[in-house]
Amino acid sequence: MRFVDEYRDPAAARAIVARITSLGGDDHFKFMEICGGHTHTIYRHGIEHVLPPSIELVHGPGCPVCVIPMGRVDDAISLAKEPGVIFTSFGDMMRVPGSQGNLLKAKAEGADVRFVYSPLDALRIAVGNPGRQVVFFAVGFETTAPSTAVTLLQARARGISNFRVFSNHVTIVPPLKAILGSPDLRLDGFLGPGHVSTVIGQRPYGFVAEQYGKPLVTAGFEPLDILQAIAMLVAQIRDGRCEIENQYSRVVKEEGNPKALAVLAEVFELRSEFEWRGLGFIPGSALKLRPEFAEFDAELHYRLPGIRVPDPKACQCGEVLKGVIKPWECKVFGTACTPETPIGTCMVSSEGACAAYYNFGRMHREVAVTLGRTSPSPL
């Protein structure tokens, strides 16, 4: 219980763990946390080692950096190398490897690549450089996509003609369906994402309970939130219930953020399909600009390679993203693939399961091994 002492309210944490232990009994439950922020909290606070052995956590595909396939990174680099283009990106994407290097390498080779905190920063750069074309590398789930949408609405309202968006926005529900339909994974329930749900609300998850008979509890980001949500999942199963519940109701509303959903619908439409790293092509899982915004669409304005690039053979990000293997079970984890020299996307983002485990998990695991709670892993 060493880690529990670091929590905000150790007594409350112990009480929740005791409840999970007593509800779980001798059975085994496998829950997937969808959100990369949760993955980070789980490793940072050693939650896996605080939980009784009856609970296994599987890390899902909810890190937008980790799910971008190599071919799209190659497209981004191609855009960055277009003459006259200023290519803007969130910092997280700069080190994501494409087949021929990453955006940092393109920058070192002379491309004008700039990192921005907000899509509004990219628009500002466009306003300040009227003789250049400014392309924004848009990534993220429904949490981030409304910001891109508002930025595009502003660009149109202000008549800014040298601003384009390379949209790689993705949606959370289709990959959940893909995972639930996958034969190699048996899950007993989900921890629902916190911030995505502030936008989309709770209703889109209804199918998880109705069609697949699995409970889902949307959770906050504190260790206590995650423990509480796990207790709610086990309690549902013990009660014979299967519902979509909200542990994070202090931030997430049932209906989400209607204004954000409205701007999303105004600016974006669903792609027929989109490739996800490790999960393959998933129908209706990503957003592209509506025809009314065609003048801002980098994919229509530039010729992109658009070549599908398979993941490196040694990299098992796909299995990690589907929760089929743990990060440390990947052949290159911690040896050829580290946060400094990542082969796969899961090692790039601090919210990727591999980076989170590399930074925090190994230490906790070593402690757990000495406590005899789990068997040593071949690191």
């Binding site: 980070h40 905190y117 920063d121 504190e222």
Partner: protein, 91 residues
Amino acid sequence: MCLGIPGQLVEMSNTDEHLARADVSGVVRVINIGLLEDEALQLGDWVLIHVGFAISKIDEEEANLTLASLQSMGQAYDDEMAALRSSNAFR
């Protein structure tokens, strides 16, 4: 880029363009509050900020909890704050 950071509204800069100034851990920057226009935000309110946009109104207790939790993340939080400081939008 994936982190939501709490900020407290200290000035309504431009209501037409939905801009406000928010204090984020001592750094004051302009944010867009248009996604929360139904919330009738007031000075002193706390919001969760994501890539320069307020996406959710929160109370002070939640803001403090979130901030403490973010600070415990170490490098990821430092990177996010550095990005926020470097942001040039509407400054």
